[in-house]
Amino acid sequence: MLTLNMAIFLPFLASLLIPFIYRRHFKIHIGWFVLIVPVILFITLITYLPQIKQGDSFTETLNWIPTFNINLTSYIDGLSLIFGLLITGIGALVVFYSIFYLDFSENLGHFYTYLLLFMGSMLGVVFSDHMMILYAFWELTSISSFLLIAFWYQRKGSRYGAKKSLLITVFGGLGMLIGFLMLYQITGTFSIRETFELIIPLKEHILFTPALILILLGAFTKSAQFPFHIWLPDAMEAPTPVSAYLHSATMVKAGIYIVARFTPIFGGDAVWFYAVSITGLITLFWGAFSAIRETDLKALLAYSTISQLGLVMSLFGVSSLSLHPTITINEVLYTQAAFAALFHLVNHSTFKGALFMVVGILDFKIGTRDIRRLGGLMLFMPISFSIALIGSFSMAGLPPFNGFLSKEMFFQAMLSVNEFDFFSLNTIGVLFPIIAWIASVFTFIYSMIIVFKTFLGKPKEKKLSQAKEASFGMLLAPSILAIFIFLIFIFPNVLADNILKPAVFNIYPNLENNYFEPIKAWHGFNTELFMTMGVVVIGTVIFAFYRRWNIVYKLFPKFLSFDALYNNSLIFFDRLAKNTTSKYMTGYLRHYFQYVFITFTLLVGFTLFKLNAFSFSLTGDEPIGIFEWILAITIIIAGISMIITSSRLTAIVINGYIGFTIALFFVLFRAPDLALTQVVIETVTTALFLLALYFLPRWEEKRAPVRERRQNFIIAASVGLVFTLVALSVKSGRLFTSISSFFEDSDEKAGAANIVNTILGDFRAFDTMLEVIVLFIAGIGVFTLIKANKKRGAHNLEDK
């Protein structure tokens, strides 16, 4: 049986294999192989169900970087199991669907590699207990999402959408990372479960609220909450299976997972409650409101996803109230909200997945998703129509579909908010159900648009009447989801008892009794039901005046939108970066060297001066013989004449002279190996220089202006001076004894008498190995510099 860690890594392993099994002219669609992965994982996760239901949880630790206490701890409990099942279950359906959606002409190898990468990292997010590991997987989902959105990278829109989503989600992710680090500062642990216990007495800590806000930033950007929602509609450039999978069913729910996971830590805090619930409500409203404006079905679904995510988010906000110290945990009121949130989460995945797949079918079969060009498809595509109908009605919150149940529970939770008399909720709390209700009206309208504008009415274009129903394979996956939509409505408690309730207990670790009422479709004529009826009536009226309603959107000027803000700030930063960079990156090597040397001189010189570190004594110096004097003086003369000379040949010969003199120095220093090497190297180097001279022109008599030369000289002299002063100080005040005596036992330790060679070949063989590799790289570099350019020709030096 698969262990949990293996479960996370199975998709990664499979994605590694894909390049090897994928061939463009393969007869069998590679999706069939990929399909095995989520199916196996789904079955594996199902086997955990019975024990999770008992309230058990499983941990599995694999040491990764034990020194830093970073271990791969996988943790499975009710909450992560829900997400795990969604990831693998919807994953299997999406892969199956994609087999029919993407044909052989696409680059399937890339597609499935990215998809598996995503699947693995998403599983990593929900099963990690260690915050740093969670963060790593979190960013991996952003990256795989980026790759998948840009799957059709030839399109400008795809590239734009991919970049946008990456920028926003990674920005939020970085915020979350800082939040995690702050939490670590507070509690001293990276384990989420340990934090539950440790945080309780530490809520007054100064970093508590910043950490909370930063972690929420990560969650909100990922879950496309207002005002970070702008990336999701642009992400719809991805292939439809991807939209169905990442951008409605799984990845965008990672933020919700984080909120749910951290509710035990932050729940009961006023900031948390307001941030989560208000953001959720605004997103719910704005998403639904904007969805109606859209004419592209996928964009419409994107906004509806944003709106639904806001709904779930606001429910989690409300549910956090039950962790307020004055509330006894077992009061049903607010814990029910968490239950509703999870319930709606699952429902949303079913109906939104089905709707996306239907839209994909339309796109695939007809070639457009614009509702202005669609219409009257009911007769030609009856099965697609039925699925769309079921999905939309469920989304609108109508019986007999699962959306109805969770929508009623949502109203119930919102109505209960103003019963709470902290955080001045008994006054503001009235707004909650009102906003929720208005948003629901919009939700109803856009749900109706999806069905009626596409499938009813007259075919607007000729090709629509030739439309044919999609193949069986393509319809299978959305049909399964549609069946689930209906089944959940009839047997909601099967889902609730087995999967949802254990998760609620994970959000509220202290929750005791089994108080949950079973979900009922009919609970009398109460406020919630009247609200739903109101939604239907008002919604129908507005839908009837759909055209007039559109005028409302004209009131919002385009340049004030968040999209415009994003685009403009991107341009602004681009320019800012370019202007600042071009100020100092002048393209002149001389300038760069100046930066380096001036910084060095000032920094080191100032430190030397400030710390009063300069010291000098001649004690301990070896006496200087006549040979040393002669060599030293000739080197100095050679060096100076090297600057003065105007002949390149002279300069090279002088360089050789310095090299050979240093070889002589090595002899005097009793370093025979060095002397030998230096002599040979210097010979070869001089030969090289002379060879290169063959190609290079003579030095012209044109010399640099005096001012420039003076500048150069001042810099050079000050670098030399600082260098000498530091070296003298180091020599005069030794702080450590030499470690060389260790190597002097080379004969016993390595069986060799030559200490230098023993250091190179044995004690520090690793360095030598790398040195050989550097040498090798340099050789190859020289070879390619010469040969590669020769082949390509000289004219394309600047590829503009």
Binding site: Y588, R670, T768, L785
Partner: protein
């Protein structure tokens, strides 16, 4: 002797920096070569010149010259050779296309 060697190294560093700041490619490359020489001298001086014998173990000798700087320098000599060779080839290949060995003229066009 250490002091003398350090001063020689300091003067070589001055020469090297002056060469690096000039505009001619060959001068810059020579600058890197001279800088290497200076650093070798510095490392030797830092190790000190005490000890009676070359660092090769034999029966009659007991104190050796510090072997560690020598090992470091040996590595450095070979690497600097490789780097110098690479620089040279880079320089003359660049010259082939740009027809100048003046670094201030080699500056490319601004890319968007």
């Amino acid at each position: 002797m250490e002091t003398l060697i350090i001063i020689v190294a300091g003067i070589l560093v001055t020469v090297a920096v002056y060469l690096l700041l000039s505009k001619n490619v060959i001068r810059v490359i020579l600058g890197t070569a001279v800088l290497t020489h200076a650093v070798h001298l510095l490392i030797m001086a830092m190790g000190g010149f005490k000890g009676d014998s070359v660092p090769i173990v034999s029966q009659k000798e007991t104190s050796f010259v510090d072997a560690l700087p020598q090992a470091l320098i040996l590595t450095s000599i070979v690497i600097s050779f490789a780097v110098t060779a690479f620089f040279l080839v880079l320089a003359y290949q660049t010259y082939k296309y740009t027809k100048t060995d003046d670094l201030s003229e080699m500056r490319g066009v601004d890319h968007e």
